[in-house]
């Protein structure tokens, strides 16, 4: 097995506030293999952006990494000195933010922002950097790249600006690209183009991608694997096909059922998960999802589940614990099976 491009182990992010320390990310682990696209999904406030910021070392103070490890191609990066981390940003990890309208400095020409980025990371002359900048603009599909170099951001449309942002993020050929809701702020008509562009360019470069979004349609079409977050904790992680078609965590089941089907049958009722995700200060004991879960039982309210193997995925749910058949009431087991949850096939943990 090759070394993962990104390996996050037991990550814990805390935000000290006046009313106490909030745990925004709690014991989160996941890997992204070279060239792989990992989709990060979850409701707004689940901790997707904070995870991305933690990986690239740009957590906003007072937020801080309070535990765990982040490794880039095997090398630990969560405890690097600021200046060494800065050299990794842009060069080895590129990041794309949600809003292309505000990601570019309004007072700098597109070309200057590109050249500046290239010169920061590569030992080339200004002339070469400028040639490279033009080439990047052509690659992201901006017509008349040479003349567009001297344009200012406000002279571009939103979609075009996100293309420029992609060019900037990829300028130094990073091995990992974090895209935080790269199309949420865009017109529906250009969203698919931007995602396709991002996917193609990263594939050409062999870059691993952490694609943060709450659009399951984008995930289904783009990601190789999916990581589902709930209240700062991992709910489920697995290959995209399995997570979308055969979700194993009750929360994921609800999330998938909430997507309008692609056939767009207007009579189809959307299944809704009752209640809402808890605020960080008010996460219930046990499984964070238990108050909203149709399949919860006594253990869910007492203990925190770790990710258990669940089919080809992993799900942090006691229904997948080896002891589940013995511990959970039979009506809940029946309901879970009916909902497509594949229960463990041993009666206790002795297998």
């Amino acid at each position: 097995m090759t070394e993962p491009t990104l390996s996050v182990r037991n990550l814990r992010v805390e935000i000290p506030t006046r009313r106490g320390v909030l745990t925004a990310i709690d014991d989160l682990s996941f890997d992204i293999a070279p060239g792989e696209v990992l989709g990060m999904v979850g409701e707004s406030g689940a901790g997707k952006s904070i995870t991305g910021s933690a990986v690239i070392g740009l957590l906003e103070p007072p937020g801080r990494i309070a535990g765990g490890e982040i490794r880039l191609a095997g090398e630990r990066i969560d405890n690097l000195a600021p200046d060494r981390m800065r050299r990794i940003r842009g060069r080895r990890i590129g990041m794309i933010f949600q809003d292309p309208l505000t990601s570019l400095n309004p007072l700098y020409r597109i070309g200057d922002q590109l050249v500046e980025t290239i010169l920061t990371h590569q030992r080339v002359t200004t002339g070469e950097a400028r040639r490279k900048a033009r080439q990047l603009l052509e690659e992201v599909g901006i017509p008349a790249a040479e003349t567009r170099l001297s344009s200012y951001p406000h002279q571009f449309s939103g979609g075009m600006r996100q293309r420029v942002v992609i060019a900037l993020a990829l300028a130094a050929d990073p091995e990992l690209v974090i895209a935080d809701e790269p199309t949420t702020a865009l017109d529906v008509s250009v969203q698919a183009q931007i995602i396709a562009l991002l996917k193609r360019l990263c594939a050409e470069r062999g870059a691993a991608v952490m694609l943060i979004t709450h659009d399951m349609g984008v995930i289904a079409e783009t990601a190789d694997r999916v990581c589902v977050l709930y209240a700062g904790r991992l709910a489920e992680i697995g290959p995209v096909r399995n997570v979308v078609k055969h979700p194993q965590h009750p929360y994921t089941i609800g999330l998938m059922a909430a997507i309008p089907s692609l056939s767009g049958d207007p009579d189809e009722m959307l299944a809704q998960i009752p209640g809402s995700m808890p605020r960080l200060g008010a996460i219930p004991p046990g499984c964070a999802f238990n108050p909203r879960c149709d399949y919860s039982f006594s253990r869910c309210r007492a203990e925190r589940p770790e990710p258990y193997p669940a089919g080809t995925s992993h799900a942090a749910c006691f229904l997948h614990a080896p002891e589940a058949l013995r511990q959970a009431p039979s009506d809940i087991l029946q309901a879970a099976t009916a909902a497509g949850i594949s229960l463990p096939n041993t009666v206790d943990g002795a297998s």
Partner: protein
């Protein structure tokens, strides 16, 4: 761009006309100009002749028109107290005030911007807190008090710098007397310039600090960090440049206030500028000087505003190139 300039020009013209009207009204309502010109023993007939000669019996609108036309040619009449053309009186005082104001503004910028940048970047250091505390003093102490304190400490107690006057001046091309070329002129300038610029300096410092904090939170700064740009490039390139857009505007507009508020500093330091001239004029009800001063200050304000607008356009491509698309 041209249309913008023309529009601003027309607006400026309007403002100047209104100020001219106010100046003109002073002549009619603050005392009788004839009384100011003649002695007590002048006969009514002589007074009437003078009134006729001065055009004071003409229709008001005609008088106003004449006033505007003359003012446009820098003809503000004769000073009651000095019996000299107001224009030449002001011209002889203008350099002192402008030099003081510009040096003050330069001091305010040169000290205020770096202090603002520093306090914005290193918010929690004791030096930053110290700067903020000083700025509070600068904002809350009245100008004359600062001036008197400076005179007391630096001039009287330490004896380092002169406490009044402009020192030795040099005449340039026969029209501009400058104090910037002699040692005593420069020494005399220091205390008044600090006094006049201190308030603006603290204002600029607080403005830059606030803007800096604001800009550092923006997405494009976050994106600049995510691209791995150096701290220097981010703080002094991307952040500072965006900070300077409002700073240019405010500083420019403040230059007008500096010139106007020079009155107080000029009084404290007996600085032979227009402000001192104006105060003497007020004491002696010398309306031509008062009117001319009012017009001149208004003109400077309007001119500075105009220049600031153009500068603003030069810095911000969104305005310069227009057509912002969403």
């Amino acid at each position: 761009m041209i249309a913008f300039a023309i529009k601003r020009f027309v607006q400026a013209l309007g403002v100047m006309l209104v100020v001219a009207l106010i100046s003109f009204m002073m002549f009619r309502f603050v005392g009788d100009p004839v009384n100011q010109l003649v002695g007590v023993d002048t006969s009514p007939a002589e007074r009437e002749a003078l009134r006729e000669a001065l055009g004071l019996n003409d229709p008001v609108l005609l008088q106003f028109g004449r006033f505007v036309v003359k003012a446009a040619q820098f003809d503000f009449g004769i000073s009651y107290q000095f019996k000299q053309p107001v224009a030449s009186l002001i011209a002889s005082r203008l350099p002192a005030t402008l030099e003081l104001s510009l040096v003050s503004a330069f001091f305010a910028l040169a000290v205020g911007v770096p202090m603002g940048v520093y306090t914005g970047l290193y918010r929690n250091t004791w030096l930053a807190r110290g700067f903020l505390a000083i700025s509070l003093v600068g904002v809350s102490l009245p100008t004359f008090l600062i001036g008197i304190l400076l005179i007391f400490v630096v001039s009287v107690h330490l004896g380092w710098l002169p406490s009044f006057g402009r020192g030795q001046t040099v005449s340039l091309w026969g029209v501009w007397s400058t104090g910037l070329l002699t040692k005593s002129g420069l020494q005399s300038l220091i205390l008044p310039a600090i006094t006049l610029g201190l308030f603006q300096m603290t204002l600029i410092m607080r403005l830059v600090r606030g803007e800096m904090l604001e800009v550092l939170r923006t997405d494009y700064i976050k994106f600049a960090r995510a691209r791995g740009l150096s701290r220097r490039a981010i703080n002094f390139g991307h952040a500072l440049k965006n900070t300077l857009v409002p700073v240019i505007t405010i500083t420019g507009l403040q230059l007008g206030s500096i010139i106007a508020f020079a009155i107080i500093t000029e009084t404290v330091f007996q600085w032979p500028g227009m402000g001192l001239l104006f105060l003497q004029a007020v004491q002696n009800v010398d309306i031509p000087i008062m009117a001319a001063y009012l017009l001149l200050i208004a003109f400077l304000f309007v001119l500075i505003n105009f220049i600031v607008d153009l500068l603003y356009v030069a810095v911000d491509p969104r305005i310069r190139l227009g057509g912002a698309r969403g």
